[in-house]
């Protein structure tokens, strides 16, 4: 019996015919994955035999907080921490909790580590619950950056909940109640504010910035569930710092947009000590690049080492396969997979052909006509 709000077979058919959805599988698990938005169905939505897990919708960014909150939100809203990690939805499918990426893949890493990240017994009581969470930490396979308050491995932080077959989020009250009842790890909830509270909100953001935390999400406390986000200067600096290896592989707008955001945050929050901010901004660009050049002198190429821990080494192999497929022209090379206490430690390198090629040419004395 298909629940009322699920996606019927005819829509799936149309989505697949127009290239917006595709058949997918993960081990024995077969499902339909929405690879793009289709009508009101978000990219990353997955349709399993037992129901639909909707995609996590994109959240618009405010560059100017004060005018932006007033313009975008009506009435009171919740302010929650935005954590520098990757977005995961956790749902129980065929009897086991699995972690789904934003794009709608099963994440072999987080799925493997779920028992370490939260008490999955919640799904015994709430089998149709979907937890929306950020996974973050230095030992993750996707990102070079991590919040400073996670010294090792990864942690999971719930920030939203859905139920199967509905794209709507649970109300803030219901979410907080479930977080408390099951002692779920969650993002910090700063409170319920109004657009007139910009001073208090700014003070929190300034503190987050000083603590090198990423920023905040603002969630309207209303049936339309409107959201918006805003990040700190530190977050923009972290983005720049951890992406200089991909300087030539990312869109160059990646950097210009972040430097503009940084300038806007500094302007709006009236950051003083501009010498200090300037030094940090310069360091974000230059420290990593200078290390990349030194690495190229030493090793003849530029790469970045990633490490993460697994309970089942088979999942590490799945992850490497997944990363290689997703890497584009960045190379993924496995270095180690070895027992490490109760875990298996995977180490792999990402190698950046564009930066390598350019540095090889330049350091060999090639002339450039620009």
């Amino acid at each position: 019996m298909t629940p009322k709000s699920a996606i019927d077979a005819e829509r799936i058919q149309r989505a697949m015919q127009s290239g917006k959805a595709t058949d997918a599988e993960n081990g024995d698990l077969h499902y339909v994955r929405f690879i793009h938005d289709f009508e009101d169905i978000a990219r990353g939505t997955l349709v399993f035999d037992e129901g639909t897990v909707y995609g996590y919708p994109p959240i618009g960014r405010l560059l100017a907080l004060q005018t932006g909150l007033a313009k975008q939100l009506s009435g009171p809203f919740w302010m929650e921490e935005k954590i520098d990690g990757f977005n995961i939805r956790v749902a129980r499918i065929q009897g086991s909790p699995i972690a789904l990426t934003r794009g709608g893949y099963v994440c072999p890493f987080v799925t493997d580590r779920l028992p370490d990240l939260l008490d999955t017994a919640i799904f015994d009581d709430q089998p149709d619950l979907v937890l929306c969470a950020e996974v973050a930490g230095p030992d993750n396979p996707y990102m070079e950056s991590a919040p400073p308050f996670i010294p090792e491995d990864v942690k999971l932080f719930v920030f939203d909940m859905m139920r199967r077959n509905s794209p709507r989020f649970l109300s803030q009250d219901e979410k907080i109640e479930l977080i408390r009842r099951y002692a779920l790890p969650s993002v910090e909830i700063f409170g319920r504010f109004d657009t007139g509270d910009v001073k208090r909100i700014s003070a929190i953001l300034k503190r987050l910035d000083e603590e090198e935390r990423e920023g905040a999400v603002f969630k309207e406390d209303s049936p339309r569930q409107r959201r918006t986000k805003h990040v700190t200067a530190s977050a923009n600096l972290s983005d720049i710092r951890t992406s200089v290896y991909s300087l030539l592989d990312l869109s160059p707008e990646y950097f210009t947009s972040r430097i503009l955001r940084l300038a806007l945050f500094a302007d709006e929050q009236e950051l003083e000590r501009s010498d200090d901010l300037n030094r940090r901004a310069g360091a974000a660009f230059l420290d990593g690049l200078r290390e990349a050049i030194r690495q190229h002198h030493r090793e003849g190429r530029v790469s970045h080492r990633f490490r993460c821990r697994f309970r089942n080494p088979e999942n590490a192999r799945y992850l490497i396969q997944y990363l290689k497929r997703a890497a584009g022209h960045v190379q993924v090379v496995q270095r180690e997979l070895k027992p490490d206490g109760e875990f298996w430690l995977l180490e792999f390198d990402r190698i950046y052909p564009s930066l390598n090629g350019l540095l090889s040419d330049w350091l060999a004395g090639k002339m450039v006509f620009d």
Copy 2:
């Protein structure tokens, strides 16, 4: 009588048919302008009734000095200062000296000011001489940057010489002899070096960097006249600082390539005090952008004021026409044209629609989905 090395009518015909050259005029002056390279004829070449003024060829850039000099140059070479200005060729056409831009236009500004910039009597003795020079200074109509050693107005610095109807440069000896004989303003010539002299060359570059000067051109002392150039960290910082207004109008690679060059210069010259370099790099990006944001708050838009002096106000009007045609979607708006001592002072603004549009949206609280 067409001189042997000039460009014959048939080639001009073919170049025009393939869109590489075009008819052009400036007042009573009619000529053919090469708007692109064509066979061995450089972009910016101009064919007048009385002969051809060849284009100034592009000079390849070295990112790594030590390997680069050894790889690109054979035998001894001259090292000369590279000045942060714009490239001009000065030739006498129809009895008057005129200044030609790199692209092959008559520059109304420099042409007007030639009597202030050099002793044009040289053309009485040497009517077919072509002076290749950099014009630089804070009061110029094209660039926001200027060398720190030019406190006001502009100066002209000869760095090469050609003769009409030949694309070859005069030898270094002949050039130096003419500079001396006619007391021409010229770039600083640091001397004649060999690829083994990298330490001495580096010491000069480091000093140029400390003095915030742009860099050097290396000219092989050989019949093939091979050249290459290398710029300082300061030059890259200056490029970034003076272009943040055009952050969205320039190619974004403009910034990434300069930050990479900066990292390479710092690495090769073993620049210490990386805190200081980082602070300067951050300031290059942020100081200008924060000022642009403040200007947007104050005036509702971002613009940059240019000023320059003319002897004949008619030339100021020609310049404004020329700038408006060349500006693309950047707006050029004249503010003042008034007598100023023995000169006419022109003031105009460049207004940057892309940055204005983006800042207007962002500061008004628009949400961005990225």
